[in-house]
């Protein structure tokens, strides 16, 4: 209960800070529009040339794009701003101000994960939902109740996997504070824009099991298209739990290793 209240407070403070810059809101709208335009036009161009690539047609690829935008929006809403403020460029570990964060009387992992919010990312969230809705509309009658349930479960897995991957990469900063690990994972996340099946075998293996950015979007999109097997569903859930535990373990290990950088 206390933690939910805290999240509310963090959200409010972040919102107030952002409201002070009103022009930024229109700029965010402009960027969100560009993002939507390039995403949808990409699919239009590709499926203008071919009807199907490796089993993916326009509606199912559109569903994947919706999942990608939705995950990207959640990342921008709080996961990235919170983690970047610790592990990113000029973050607290670089500056040495992380000491003050450690002194607060709350769970460190909680504080590091939920502290900063970027409310304008709510626009991106709406756009993601819109694209997803459009994809479902394109699929028409093909959608079943079972597919929807599988979709919701795997989408949750996708969010948790994304969080775990970002947390794990941020935790690496405790071992090498000069390197921008968060940038690497942000770059690699772009590969999640298209289904895993499009990539060559070696890359697919990496994007599934080592840096699971491919898994985050492909599996929910498959569930929505109704082509996900029950075995794969269970495997995804188990893998997500494992990844989450692994990432939090890595973070706590890093925290043990942390030595103050301030004098």
């Amino acid at each position: 209960m206390r933690y939910i209240k805290l999240i509310g407070a963090f959200f409010k403070v972040s919102a107030q800070a952002e409201m002070a810059y009103r022009v930024n809101f229109f700029l965010r709208l402009f960027y969100a529009f560009l993002n939507l335009l390039t995403g949808v036009l990409s699919l239009v161009v590709i499926f203008n040339q071919v009807e199907m690539i490796k089993g993916w047609d326009l509606p199912s690829a559109m569903g994947l794009l919706g999942v990608y935008l939705l995950l990207g929006a959640l990342r921008g809403l709080f996961i990235s701003p919170s983690l970047e403020s610790v592990a990113g460029m000029d973050g607290e570990i670089w500056q040495g101000t992380f000491d003050f964060t450690l002194l607060r009387p709350v769970d460190k992992l909680f504080l590091v994960s939920f502290r900063h919010w970027r409310i304008f990312a709510l626009v991106d969230l709406l756009i993601g939902l819109g694209v997803l809705g459009y994809a479902i509309h394109l699929m028409g009658a093909a959608l079943t109740l079972g597919a929807v349930i599988h979709f919701i479960i795997t989408l949750l897995c996708g969010v948790i996997l994304l969080y775990a991957a970002l947390l794990a990469f941020s935790a690496l900063v405790f071992w090498n504070s000069g390197f921008l690990f968060t940038w690497v994972i942000n770059d690699l996340f772009q590969l999640a824009r298209y289904p895993l099946g499009l990539y060559p075998g070696w890359l697919r293996l990496i994007l599934t099991w080592i840096i699971p950015v491919g898994l985050m979007t492909t599996i929910p999109a498959q569930a929505l298209a109704g082509s996900l097997s029950t075995g794969m569903l269970i495997l995804t859930v188990l893998f997500t739990i494992g990844a989450f535990l692994g990432a939090t373990w890595l973070f706590r290990q890093g925290l043990q290793k942390y030595a103050s950088a301030s004098s």
């Binding site: 022009v23 700029l27 402009f30 960027y31 560009l34 335009l37 390039t38 036009l41 990409s42 239009v44 161009v45 590709i46 203008n48 040339q49 071919v50 690539i53 490796k54 000069g178 390197f179 921008l180 940038w183 690497v184 942000n186 770059d187 690699l188 772009q190 590969l191 824009r193 298209y194 099946g197 499009l198 990539y199 060559p200 070696w202 890359l203």
Partner: protein, 263 residues
């Protein structure tokens, strides 16, 4: 004009950037990924056939060369010039006895050296994995060089005059984001121009964005007839000339309009 001072600045910037190469390698990695995604997407789409006369080999070699050419013509200076104007740091440049464009040029040259140190080996390895076949004639190789130089010139000055809009509007960097989106959509990044749908063909061939990176690559990978190459070179040279003219005009009026902030 003091060219000696300019050269000293170029050497200085280059050496200092090499010290931070990890950071610049990361930047180069980030620019490479979107193009790699479309390399795989189109390779998967063209499997076992051709798309509008483009084979899987041609598509793969197109994107591999494009990764290099894109980094050779992409200008980071444009993003920083806007900030320097906004924060008033340009005061210092204006007082120095040489043209301020040397500052942009020095980071250009330093950037190219550092980015290529990363990108040439990586694309080399990718070429060994993918092994695309394409036949290169010396005539096309010869025509590639002027078009590459023109592409750099066009992209540099075009971006520079957009960045100089910061003299009038504080958030002019959104213009640069718009340009990046247009280069992606109709500049040959999302798809080679030949694969775009009909309604995008004309804007793609007339507007400057294709001539900023894709056009030299189309020449080198033998996608164009000699007539198309010469027509393209004329359009490219025209845009390059125009961009220099606009830059000079904007600079002259901008500096006059500028009022110093800070020192």
């Amino acid at each position: 004009m003091n060219h000696q001072g300019g050269w000293a600045l170029i050497k200085n910037t280059w050496q200092s950037w090499l010290q931070h190469r990890g950071f610049f390698f990361l930047l180069a990695f980030g620019w490479m990924l979107p193009l790699l995604v479309y390399l795989f997407v189109w390779s998967a789409a063209a499997e076992g056939g051709t798309l509008n006369g483009l084979s899987q080999d041609t598509l793969a070699s197109y994107y591999l060369v494009l990764i290099l050419v894109n980094q050779l013509t992409y200008t980071t200076a444009n993003w920083t010039v806007g900030d320097i104007i906004r924060y008033g740091q340009i005061n210092r440049w204006l007082l120095q006895p040489m043209s301020p464009i040397y500052h942009a040029l020095s980071s250009e040259i330093a950037g190219k050296v550092v980015f290529m140190l990363f990108s040439i080996p990586i694309t080399g390895i990718l070429a060994l994995i993918i092994q695309p076949q394409f036949n290169l004639t010396w005539q096309k190789g010869l025509l590639f060089i002027p078009s590459l130089l023109l592409a750099w010139m066009l992209r540099f000055f075009w971006g520079y005059w957009l960045a100089l809009m910061a003299f009038w509007a504080t958030r002019a960097d959104s213009l640069l984001a718009l340009q990046d989106s247009l280069v992606f959509l109709i500049g040959g990044h999302l798809a080679p121009i030949k694969l775009l749908p009909d309604w995008m063909q004309l804007p793609a061939r007339i507007l400057p964005f294709r001539y900023m990176s894709a056009f030299p690559v189309e020449i080198l990978t033998s996608q164009l007839s000699y007539d198309e190459i010469f027509l393209g070179l004329v359009i490219q040279a025209g845009w390059a000339f125009l961009s220099v003219m606009i830059y000079r005009l904007v600079w002259r009026h901008g500096v006059r309009h500028y009022e110093a902030v800070g020192g």
